[in-house]
Symmetry: C2
């Protein structure tokens, strides 16, 4: 139902068929399609389920079996005996509401017109995405999650699970994500959005019948990549090596060629409207939405909460992770807080398995149940 | 001769009238117009002249007299008794070759056609700009400079003065600029360039008869601003305050409104082609161009060299400033190196007078002559 590829093996379910989902910013969505995947086996007492929340441009498939020859976005973190141990846990991962990898989003058909939603897709926030995930977990017959884990945007979803469903999750693992998005990070998102919105093909979001705003989306992706990595990693990988000295305004340097490639590659797999909606949900994330204030929202959390900061993360800066630590502690949350260093910066949670292994393993396993 | 405003009081001279300037990347330019301004008085033995080199989007006028009611880009650093002491020095500042503030650049008329150069403007590097500055200093009858000072891109020009004219300058003051531009910084420039080049009005640079590529240029400027400041400063100035909650895809947050305003304001004063050329000159800067290697180029420096790093500069990162320090020291340069902290990050050299005052004062005054 979407223009953007996802594995044929992904599972699909239609939720909110009886009653529509009331969205936090107004409006409703019903008959929401959700693409999801599961890994491992649910045990007899249904106590080993772990929900994985993907980051901004992720999807429902963090892992593929070796014989499939494909790699998921958490391929190296997942498997028997690894931190995301498929012999121990039953993992569930779904594409977020608003995405373009099989779940209902702006490129899905609007039931009113039969054509893609485009500009008519409603505004969504993290809380709406979590509602849909909660409905999926209920559909799977799981009353309580051993853990919810996510990095970056996924970490915000994990946090919200603990706030909105305090009695249904024992452990939260939040990697490389603060409780709120900084002014600087909103600024980067603003530049990315303007690149898309100003693309002559954008047509206010109703571009599905014509050429998509590919130039704007590629520019946005290139900028995103720069905030996900670090100067150190780019210096090591590319330095000042040249690629094509004849391309004075193009990919003169290797690092330019790398960025251009990342921008182009992204076009095959992502929809500009989904990107816009998910960026804005990042900006707007506020765990206190619908509660008296942020602290009283955080005080609802009963789960053990593991927060891992990468010291040289250029998107979610250490100062904001430390503020989140303070807020969580002041709200009485049982917190395990860690700071680690990686040249990969923000992307470390996707590529630097060794430094996260113990943190994830402990974060998923910590026995909150015995204390509650 | 340019479309972009500069003060009526700026002085103009046409240089390279007898012999053309041979450019480092090939091609020539002759009858080069140079907009410049001077401040203070040249003393009798012409020993108190200081050349100021402007940064990427600066101009020939760092300062205006109070009665003019305008502010220059170094207004708060300059005046009687200040770090840039107009009662002590004779300051010269010129708009760089390739700029759009009165000196010959892509928006100037091409003598072959009478129309703006546009896509026909040749590739230029810092060394070409410094050649033009050198010609201006000669035209003013000054045999030797007490100092050359600049921040950011201006610091690269200052460095090159010491390399190319080692017997004509006593002191170099380089603020917030490393000897080379990092892969990450080239990456940001790449994204900015692509935003301009992909603007439907760009027309390969030949847009002067029609609408200029304003959307692309505004996006580039917004991104530039984010690299010039810091997360700390943006958090203090804007935090997560909202501006217009009705503008879901526009300036929802204050920081977005600030960036949009900076982008718009820039359009009144800058030409997209000049921006492209100067960005690329930043990327390409290599003090060793035309010499055996970088170290042998740096070994030519006889001037005392003051290098000031801002520890939280997000464009010219501390690691690169420290590498520059090492390179200069290994090349036998007499170096005064300082690290200072400012929430303003890279922009500190334009706005944070107090932390730079002593460094600039000492850097200009240090008596290299007595030792040579």
């Amino acid at each position: 139902m979407s223009f953007y590829g996802f594995s044929m093996a992904v599972q699909k379910v239609t939720l909110f068929t009886e009653q529509a989902l009331n969205l936090h910013f107004g409006g409703q969505l019903d008959r929401i399609e959700v693409a999801y995947q599961t890994y491992g086996r649910l045990n007899a007492d249904k106590s080993n389920a772990v929900l994985i929340c993907h980051a901004l441009t992720g999807d429902a498939e963090p892992y593929f079996e070796q014989e499939e020859g494909r790699k998921g976005w958490w391929q190296s973190f997942m498997g028997e005996g690894l931190a995301l141990d498929t012999s121990r846990y039953f993992f569930i991962c779904s594409n977020v509401l608003g995405g373009c990898k099989g779940s209902t989003g702006p490129s899905s058909p609007n039931p009113l017109s039969g054509k893609p939603y485009g500009s008519q897709f409603p505004h969504i926030v993290v809380q709406d995405m979590v509602r849909v995930q909660h409905e999926l977990v209920a559909y799977l017959g799981i009353p309580r999650l051993q853990a919810v884990i996510g990095g970056s945007f996924g970490g915000m979803q994990a946090t919200q699970w603990a706030v909105d469903y305090p009695d249904e999750v024992d452990n939260i693992v939040n990697l490389c994500s603060s409780l709120t998005f900084s002014a600087e990070a909103i600024g980067f998102n603003h530049v990315m959005r303007q690149a898309i919105v100003n693309d002559p093909n954008f047509n206010r979001g109703d571009y599905y019948a014509g050429e998509p705003p590919h130039r704007g989306l590629a520019i946005a992706r290139m900028l995103g990549m720069l905030t996900y990595r670090t100067d150190i990693q780019l210096a090591k990988a590319f330095g000042r090596a040249t690629k094509n000295e004849g391309a004075f305004w193009g990919d003169y340097f290797q690092v330019e060629s790398y960025l251009s490639y990342q921008g182009e590659k992204f076009l095959e797999r992502f929809d500009a409207n989904s990107y816009l909606h998910l960026l804005r949900a990042l900006d707007l994330y506020d765990a206190g939405l619908g509660y008296a204030n942020l602290k009283s929202a955080l005080a609802r959390i009963k789960a053990r909460y593991t927060l891992v900061a990468v010291t040289n993360d250029q998107l979610f800066k250490l100062v904001d992770l430390r503020k989140s630590r303070q807020l969580l502690e002041q709200s009485g949350v049982r917190l395990d807080y860690h700071e680690i260093s990686s040249d990969y910066g923000h992307d470390a949670f996707l590529v630097d398995y060794d430094i996260f292994e113990a943190k994830i393993r402990d974060g998923l396993a910590s026995a909150a149940v015995s204390e509650s």
